[in-house]
Symmetry: C2
Subunit: 389 residues, 2 copies
Amino acid sequence: MRDVAVIGVGITKFGEVWDKSLRQLGLEAGYLAILDAGITSDDVDALYIGNMSSGSAIGQEHIAPLFADQVALTHKHTPATRIEAASASGGLAFRQGYFAVAAGQHEIVVVGGAEKMSDTNPSELVDTLVSGADREWEGFFGATLPSLWAMMARRHMHEFGTTYEQLAAVVVKNHKNAKLNKKAQFPFEINLEAVLNAPRVAEPLGIFDCAPASDGAATVILCSMDRAQDICDRPVKIIGSGQASDFMSLHDRKSLTSIDSTRFAAHRALKQANMTIKEIDLAEVHDSYSISEILAIEDLGIVEKGHGGKAVEDGLTALDGEIPVNTSGGLKARGHPPGATGVAQIVEIVTQLRGDAKERQVKGARFGLTHNLGGTGGTAVVHILEGVA
Amino acid sequence: MRDVAVIGVGITKFGEVWDKSLRQLGLEAGYLAILDAGITSDDVDALYIGNMSSGSAIGQEHIAPLFADQVALTHKHTPATRIEAASASGGLAFRQGYFAVAAGQHEIVVVGGAEKMSDTNPSELVDTLVSGADREWEGFFGATLPSLWAMMARRHMHEFGTTYEQLAAVVVKNHKNAKLNKKAQFPFEINLEAVLNAPRVAEPLGIFDCAPASDGAATVILCSMDRAQDICDRPVKIIGSGQASDFMSLHDRKSLTSIDSTRFAAHRALKQANMTIKEIDLAEVHDSYSISEILAIEDLGIVEKGHGGKAVEDGLTALDGEIPVNTSGGLKARGHPPGATGVAQIVEIVTQLRGDAKERQVKGARFGLTHNLGGTGGTAVVHILEGVA
């Protein structure tokens, strides 16, 4: 397989976007990425789209050719493929696009992620979210996505002494980062007391421990490394890609405090990159809930199992910490349109590795990692990118 | 890219399957394919799943890891990826699996397609089906999938003099073939009068011009050609793969009587195979409606544009015709679980090329083609397979 680079990125402002449809969001992000790469739609050989819920949320399946049409690819009858893996849809679409270029099947590939959640009424939304967990063995018995993560949080508190304050510290950090990201849904700070005193969604998780269900889209353009260097000055190279599954139902897993799909996906990506986690300069991880980020940094190997809460509290993962995590604001504060999230993580890492992140720039960042989960971890996708000086 | 072969196939009986869930259907087809290939689940490196509507139909997204679990792949945390392209989901999943092996990314890949339609009530089903067309520009204005195809049929009758009897001849032929396929949903013959006298769904299409919305699953196992020859006696080689998009809305297309995505996908697949359509011995094409098969054989180049109806009437595509089409019974009579259909087409072609099709065997078949469409043709996928003597 040949080397592949990201040569362009685009992202919409995430939020409750009442005045744009899913296809309009996709168009906006796609247009920005194509402009950024300095190519035209004529140069594009294939399109991969990550989306979780367009079928149930807006009654539209088969959205890949729809997006192809929006970004003016239909005149060439460009192949367009949708990938669905709940909230890992975007990361997994990126992986498929990467393989398409790496295999030499296509030269320039667009990977987009998009989701429209606001058009769904709130009670249906809860139902849509749990469709990423096991419907027959979890959803039908009343489990919701936050309640499943709450069980993991409770067990983590029990086994390792993780505190409410440590969970809240994740939220405070991510909002602080989002304040520096004008595309974020919640670009403002929040203090520890507000997080702790917020209404509970599922004990021990309060409303501010949960990422929002957002509208938004993100797009990246991939190209073979050889050609990338002719097209742009600052290609960002993909050096590792790992994907893994886990049991969908929590009751089938051997632990509630470790997500094996994350461990295996990280191991596979690091092995391909021939690196250890210690060499990574920054990471975007899947903080769908505050506990999710704590599990993620442990299972990725950034900290030892059980030490995640303390590490966040101590500032290890802060913007000026040893390894900044979720400099974009994360799912929590940048916002979380499930299909777009995995691609938005790539957008942030590419922005950082190019040195374009302005006030939230991580100085001297060379290696970045993304970690995208579906549901409670049935799917995990990890990518490692390298900025080329 | 290296050569890839199909080394195992499995399929459930299609129909209204009230006593099995989606995951049970997937398990059954997966188990049969693994048995047929003579491998174990330990040998499998990745899973690709085609499914259209599990989110809206049974409230379950993220089904790829669920299937991985059902076929005992979770202990290895095997990557599992779902592809959605309406009724082209299965064909497109096959294409992704093919590329994964061709690129050297994986050695043995399972491709499954599955759908459960019976659990959806009939009025919602109409809605689910049109979610494969353009919801905002077609569905919201009252168009259903049969009514969109009916417009194409009317225009075909107007331009080329295609008759009701010619449309019905597709149905009669496909039922005749299905009678010889014990996995078919409707394994019995139907006569021309019954088709012509049936209640109309959308003029000129009657109830028997429409494929059913079925339950069922199909699975195939892929492997590099080199290794395939060690594992099995009769590998079937994939020699061409083509995918193309078209405008989702009919009003955007330049013609109602030709589907450009079929033309482009076929051209790309034949080019890769370095063949002309005249060398193909048999084909499974996307007969979601009787008119769909007529458009398909024309756009694939099997017959000239406008001559499709007459060709079917004359027996060109009959089991003993010059180029048998839909020997399995097609979507119409084998049944049509959207996500499974594209994989079921591969199962039929592989069965034929191995010489295992018994009473419906096409003598001396060496090259087979599959043609799978999403919605009204927003996506088309064409594959060409070769039996290895």
